[in-house]
């Protein structure tokens, strides 16, 4: 943990290029991810084209763009989950806390313990209780200490704003919960292993407005401790709960800036067209 933090501090304190978020807001210490010239292919199809972006630590970065623009692919490139799809290929670097995720000696499983993920469709494991779902990451990664597990169970569920709703039903199946609760259970499961980053792939798109609001509140609370990258189709959501916004179109990063700037005064024409609903 300590070497991670020092590593984060020593990497690229302030690189200035046009993709940097503009400086009218306080800059974070160091980027959580420094992505350099990243291209990603599915077979012959180039889904991400030469993207360079610094994703700030302990902030919420929203990724917006029309369907098929590569948002989810990019997100999965940050924890190498896209590799589940056969015939994927990556070019370029993703530095996470100074370490290249695509380096030759990097074990994706170890990286993913530090980079949690929440999916569009809530996916609690159907064979497991609520408690087992939260603790599965710890248990299968070898944690046996009962006290630690119990502490982490309550802490994670509290952070996911689910504790008061389920504390008496911890042994019930995870899939017995409502859709919104299931998604918060998945967030609790992701933060139980105490990652540094939370990647969220349209975490509220399958939820009703009230459940969505709870998830958004949660994101705002979690950013004190986590770097959050959230892919969303919902521009109101991006403007409500993110600090920075990246606009992707056709696999390219078109614009990246403070959320306020993107939504009030975008630099690029395509961004403006998209957020004003002229296409996408």
């Amino acid at each position: 943990m300590i070497e991670t933090l020092t590593a984060m501090k020593t990497t690229r304190l302030h690189t200035v290029d046009f993709m940097q978020p503009s400086t009218d807001q306080p800059q974070p210490l160091a980027p959580a991810f420094a992505v350099k010239n990243l291209s990603m292919w599915y077979g012959a199809n180039e889904a991400i084209k030469n993207v360079t972006i610094d994703i700030p630590a302990k902030r919420v970065t929203a990724i917006i763009g029309p369907s098929g623009c590569g948002k989810s692919t990019f997100l999965r490139g940050l924890n190498r989950l896209h590799e589940l799809v056969p015939r994927t290929r990556v070019n370029g670097d993703v530095l996470f806390a100074g370490q290249n995720l695509y380096g030759p000696d990097v074990d994706p499983a170890l990286i993913r313990r530090r980079i949690g993920m929440v999916f569009q469709k809530s996916n609690p494991f159907p064979t497991m209780s609520i408690a087992e779902n939260v603790l599965v990451g710890l248990k299968l990664n070898g944690v046996r200490d009962r006290t630690l597990l119990n502490e982490r169970l309550e802490k994670s569920l509290r952070m996911a704003a689910l504790w008061s709703e389920v504390k008496d039903d911890l042994r019930k199946p995870g899939i017995s919960l409502s859709g919104g609760q299931q998604q918060r259970l998945c967030i609790a499961r992701a933060i139980a292993i105490e990652p540094e980053v939370l990647l969220m792939d349209e975490p509220a798109s399958a939820l009703d407005p009230i459940a969505t609001m709870k998830i958004e509140e949660l994101i705002t609370e979690l950013k004190a401790n986590y770097t959050i990258v959230i892919v969303t189709h919902n521009m109101q959501q991006a403007s409500r709960c993110s600090d920075f916004t990246a606009f992707f179109y056709m696999g390219e990063l078109i614009e990246f800036a403070n959320t306020a700037k993107i939504f009030s005064n975008p630099t690029r024409r395509q961004t403006e067209d998209y957020i004003t609903g002229r296409f996408g």
Partner: protein, 284 residues
């Protein structure tokens, strides 16, 4: 109008088609009913406690049972499972989780061909590979022949149920930094466990009545089997021997044995139905 004639024609065709389907459905059910009825009629009268607890009596002596054959069948099925279940399940895991498209295509083809190999061929192969070199029929040889028959069956059903597990669960587990193998065992296989067990039971039901592969491997035995490297009795073998014998008393025992065998297979299938229903209920 021609439209109306056309309509009449369609109605007639539809009626004929549904009639043919109903007849076919009936033809599926009737033999099972007949088999059960006939077995009950012929076998039930010879079925008594002694049948389950006694050894066969010598020719001419009334009574006796097939206790050794019932236990022998159990031992053979256990031996077969020791070979068939691990190889079949792990092969299914390979197909569903590891194999490349090309490797899978050839593996599936081989499994399907193996599935179609006549059971007596398995008997002959194991005879050549095991019985001849060790110069003895044995329970091991019988178990191996049956186990080999289980492998392709279990492999394909395991593959199918593993592929039914939504990819979202794999992603969720891998995203937690859980290794690929642990994800497969603790998440994917656990989710599909009922389906895997169902596949194993179906394979057991399929081989429980096999006689041909046991003819030159397990061989049969009129006494208790003392060692797995010696010939062993099996229910289908005993039925075969008794049924082709010239003695009325043995014929009656063969009927009783057949009834017990069918009842066993029927029970396994009922268990499968029960498990499968539980799985369907969980998905919804």
């Amino acid at each position: 109008m021609s439209g109306s004639a056309n309509h009449q024609f369609r109605k007639a065709t539809s009626l004929i088609a549904s009639l043919l389907c109903s007849i076919a459905a009936l033809l599926v059910i009737v033999p099972l009913g007949l088999i059960f009825f006939y077995l009950l009629q012929s076998g039930l009268s010879s079925l008594n406690l002694a049948f389950f607890t006694h050894l066969p009596k010598p020719v001419g002596e009334p009574g006796g049972g097939m206790a050794n054959a019932i236990v022998g069948s159990g031992q053979l099925l256990a031996l077969a499972s020791l070979i068939g279940v691990p190889v079949g399940v792990l092969g299914g895991v390979y197909l569903a989780e590891y194999g490349t498209a090309r490797a899978n295509a050839s593996l599936r083809f081989v499994a399907d061909v193996l599935n179609g190999v006549p059971s007596i061929i398995w008997g002959v192969v194991v005879y050549g590979l095991v019985v001849l070199p060790f110069k003895s029929f044995s329970a091991y040889a019988g178990g191996l022949a049956l186990g080999c028959m289980m492998i392709p069956l279990i492999m394909r059903t395991t593959e199918e149920v593993l592929l039914l597990v939504p990819g979202g669960y794999r992603e969720a587990a891998l995203a937690l930094g859980i290794s690929h193998w642990k994800t497969i065992v603790h998440i994917v296989m656990k989710t599909a466990s009922k389906g895997i067990v169902t596949g194993v039971l179906l394979a057991l039901a399929r081989i429980a009545g096999e006689t041909a592969p046991l003819l030159f491997t397990a061989f049969g035995n009129r006494f208790w089997n003392r060692s797995l490297s010696e010939p062993i009795a099996a229910l289908p073998l005993q039925i075969f021997t008794y049924a082709i014998s010239p003695y009325d008393d043995w014929h009656r025992q063969a009927w009783a044995g057949a009834l017990v065998l069918v009842a066993m297979i029927f029970l396994i299938n009922l268990l499968v139905r029960f498990l499968a229903r539980g799985r369907a209920a969980r998905v919804t």
